[in-house]
């Protein structure tokens, strides 16, 4: 009992040392000021202790120079903290191009993971070390938060939108995965493991047989079974935009606004088609709210994405003409 109690978390991602760097800097600065204040208070309390009952303190009212000093110095120090913190945040925020994408769905009280190659897992996430991994995350019910302490990364997983999280694991091992946003009864049971593996082992794991359809292939099936293809094809009777090469492009809306068709836009267009209609098309698409689950939505998004990425389209996808 009590033999295993670390006082500092492992550093298992490229990001971890960046976050710990600012942490140690702030620890040093704040420890200095805490000890300074505590030391001065104790020193003054002893040195100027009341020696007889009628004694009073000296008549000192203040000093503009001192006030400026202890306003400006803390201000400058905190601005360093701000800039450093913002720099680390930007680095943690922007995923590098070419990151390995993984879909994550949070629901009370489990994590469902789907790899692009089709492998699926629950409450576990296998990743290779040394390669950036980008998680595209959505929630089926309430707000959750995907937290890997050993990687120093966390992002809320929010219903109604996609949030992203990325990291590069640096050390093979099994690490805690926690839900960090309170989500109801079994919040503390919504935990799992992130398993970082050497790339070769990871490839072996991927081929280990728990693969099903790739998300894009599953999405294609949905595209047909849900009837999307009735309109979103060449020569359809009803007018709807073709989806080939749409993902990642800039589209012009009826309002005149121009937005990038990213994952969140495609998701929104499936659930709430009237919200942002592409200019030139009639508002005739029905909502699919309640007809497709959060995971199926991700598969549809994956399918639409595959139509824009050469080489990743599932067999049988309409060729880009």
């Amino acid at each position: 009992m009590f033999t295993n109690f670390p006082l500092f978390p492992q550093q298992a991602s490229v990001q971890a040392s960046q976050v710990d760097g600012i942490y140690f800097f702030m620890l040093a600065v704040t420890a200095f000021f805490s000890l300074l204040i505590a030391g001065l208070v104790v020193l003054f309390a002893v040195k100027y202790r009341r020696r007889h009952e009628d004694e009073v303190g000296a008549a000192i009212h203040g000093s503009l120079a001192l006030e400026l000093l202890w306003t400006v110095i803390p201000f400058l120090i905190t601005m360093v903290m701000f800039a450093w913190g913002a720099k680390v945040f930007f680095d943690l925020y922007r995923a590098p191009a070419g990151a390995m994408e993984v879909y994550v769905v949070g629901k009370q009280w489990m994590w469902k993971v789907q790899h692009m190659g089709g492998a699926r897992e629950i409450n576990e996430l296998h990743v290779p070390v040394g390669r950036p991994v980008k998680l595209i995350m959505g929630s089926e019910d309430v707000i959750h938060s995907f937290f890997i302490p050993a990687f120093r990364v966390k992002a809320d997983v929010i219903p109604g939108r996609y949030n992203m999280l990325w990291f590069t694991a640096s050390k093979p091992g099994r690490y805690h995965l926690f839900c960090a946003e309170y989500c109801g009864t079994k919040h503390s049971g919504m935990i799992g493991s992130v398993i970082a593996m050497e790339p070769t082992e990871f490839q072996a794991w991927l081929g280990g047989g728990n693969a099903s359809d790739t998300p894009a292939a599953a999405g294609e099936k949905l595209f047909q079974s849900q009837g999307c293809i009735a309109c979103h094809r060449q020569g359809a009777a009803l007018q709807a935009p073709l989806l080939t090469n749409k993902f990642g492009s800039t589209v012009t809306l009826q309002s005149g606004a121009r937005i990038v068709a990213d994952e969140s836009y495609i998701r929104e267009s499936i659930l709430n088609p009237q919200a942002k209609i592409v200019a030139g098309f009639p508002p005739i698409m029905p909502t699919f709210q309640g007809l497709v689950s959060e995971e199926q939505l991700m598969q549809l998004v994956a399918y639409v994405k595959s139509l824009s990425t050469p080489g990743t389209a599932p067999a049988g996808a309409p060729a880009n003409r």
Binding site: V41, V56, G57, T71, F75, T78, G85, A155, F178, S188
Partner: protein, 533 residues
């Protein structure tokens, strides 16, 4: 023959429940918030008991979730927010400014009744099965998923908010209109300045939380789509609205404590404050900038990066006035005549704990670092250092300082010193390990946790046991003093201020003759009029 004072001027329940005397109303609040404090403490005890072992073995997950929710709701809305303003502020503001009462005595009594009504709703919510959303009521959990008494608890908060608004309004009008002749703004005791700043936050912020909980009720009951994406709402909108009040609410808790500390440090150093106007204006700066920092609670929610940067900078700016105050208090002790009576021990405890609480806030304002520590025990430790280490230390310090004035009796000083020590040691043992657990990655609101966090949690629970003794002791010796304590002279500490010039306990009308004020408070050494600096 006892002289007539506010305590013996009228007997029987009606003389208390229908009183318009600000001092009696302060005691009504004292009794009710003490009840809620121990209720909230009981919930905290259950939490610490459960966390003694990694497995969730003392109570069910649902019960545990209700425990931390009720702990937060009761402590924040029914103890911390009213604590110093409604008890010490009510008692002292009229006396400190040489007035006979607050501007609106009937409204003052009304705010106590509103507070009690809100409290009853919360008690009903607790007794009928509790609420499990966390005190933050995050949507869509609170509107679509939670299967507990959300509406009753939310109504309790909604109602109690009006008590805050009325108290704040009363204080602002009183400070503007009822100061004694000669009591200029820059002669005001710093406690009055901090209560003034607090009142601004109360009347500007509280309506927003009232609107927010009403919207939660509207979505939960009427299924109006406001926050739940399944109904077309935006769950992040709730977080903006909630923190627009609830971050400034932290300043409602800490600003009054800062005012108390300013008074105590001067009185027990027998020295006027160093940099009066800097301390006074830093209260206002905190109140104003405090309204502009709420977005630092949303760094990991997917909020715009640029909004995050603005909120990060503003969060650093709001730390500066707090730092100015700490430096000025320290400088006040320099060349003072320092006496370590129990109120001063609490003030020293405040200085240590508030400094740690404030400085760890800098960690959370750093966006890249907040990603890791957000929603972990690091945050839990940080805000307890502010709200318990800061606000409750200030409240207890103030209670010890003014108890002889309030009750007319002296309490046992050795016991008071012992209690102050217990609170300080117990507090640090409870909450310091939580910084370590948080950086290790232990998430908050966890009913069960991995084994490696156990040592730190055992330390926390041990500390909480010591802390609870430190909190019960003052109850005991204050109560004892009411019956057995030696009568207090009008100025037992040799302190200065209008409150020490009238008898203990004060007469109902405070001053038989309205005082004329010729100088600021705490002018112990013969000197010139206080300048701007």
């Amino acid at each position: 023959m006892e002289t007539l004072n506010y305590l013996n001027n009228g007997h029987g329940l009606a003389s208390w429940l229908l009183t318009r005397d600000h001092k009696r109303i302060a005691l009504l609040y004292l009794a009710s918030i003490t009840g809620f404090f121990f209720l909230g403490g009981l919930f905290a005890f259950m939490i610490r008991l459960e966390l003694l072992t990694p497995a969730g073995d003392v109570m069910s997950s649902d019960t545990y979730n209700k425990m931390f929710t009720m702990h937060g709701v009761v402590m924040v809305f029914f103890f911390l927010i009213p604590s110093i303003p409604a008890v010490l502020g009510n008692f002292l503001i009229p006396i400190m400014i040489g007035a006979k009462d607050l501007a609106f005595p009937r409204i003052n009594l009304l705010s106590w009744y509103i507070y009690v009504l809100g409290g009853i709703f919360t008690l009903v919510a607790a007794l009928s099965g509790g609420v499990d959303t966390g005190w933050t009521f995050y949507t869509p959990y609170s509107t679509a998923a939670a299967n507990s008494h959300v509406i009753t608890a939310a109504l309790g908060i909604f109602i109690t908010g009006f008590s805050s608004i009325l108290t704040g309004l009363n204080f602002i009008v009183t400070v503007h209109r009822m100061r004694a002749p000669g009591l200029t703004w820059f002669r005001l005791p710093l406690f009055v300045w901090s209560m003034y700043a607090t009142s601004l936050v109360m009347i500007l912020g509280t309506p927003v939380i009232a609107i927010t909980v009403l919207l939660v009720a509207a979505e939960r009951v009427l299924h109006m789509g406001i926050f739940d994406p399944a109904l077309g709402g935006d769950p992040i909108l709730f977080q903006h609205l909630f923190w627009f009040y609830s971050h400034p609410a932290v300043y409602i808790m800490i600003l009054p404590a800062m005012g108390v500390i300013s008074e105590i440090v001067q009185a027990f150093s027998r020295k006027n404050i160093f940099g009066y106007s800097f301390v006074a204006f830093s209260s206002l700066a905190i109140a104003i900038i405090g309204f502009l920092v709420w977005g630092h609670h949303l760094f990991v929610s997917g909020q715009s990066v640029y909004a995050g940067m603005i909120f990060s900078i503003l969060s650093y700016l709001v730390a500066i006035p707090s730092a100015i105050k700490v430096f000025n208090w320290t400088a006040t002790i320099y060349k003072g005549s320092v006496s370590l009576d129990s109120p001063m021990l609490y003030a020293f405890g405040f200085l240590g704990l508030f400094t740690i609480g404030g400085l760890t806030g800098l960690f959370l304002a750093a966006m890249g670092l907040d990603i890791h520590v957000h929603d972990t025990y690091f945050v839990v430790a940080h805000f307890h250092y502010i709200m318990v280490g800061g606000a409750i230390m200030g409240y207890l310090g103030g209670l010890h300082y003014w108890w002889p004035k309030i009750s007319g009796r002296l309490y046992s000083e050795p016991w008071a010193k012992f209690a102050a020590l217990m609170v300080f040691v117990g507090f640090n043992l409870t909450f310091f390990p939580q910084f370590v657990a948080g950086y290790l990655g232990m998430p908050r609101r966890y009913h069960a946790y991995p084994d490696e966090f156990q040592v730190l949690n055992v330390a926390s629970t041990l500390g909480a046991s010591i802390l609870s003794v430190g909190y019960v002791l003052p109850m005991v010796y204050f109560t004892w003093s009411l019956f057995k304590g030696a009568p207090s002279p009008s100025d037992p500490w040799g302190a200065q201020g209008l409150e020490w010039e009238i008898p203990s306990p004060p007469p109902t009308e405070n001053f038989h003759v309205t005082p004329i004020v010729t100088h600021g408070t705490h002018q112990y050494a013969p000197s010139k009029e206080v300048g701007i600096v």
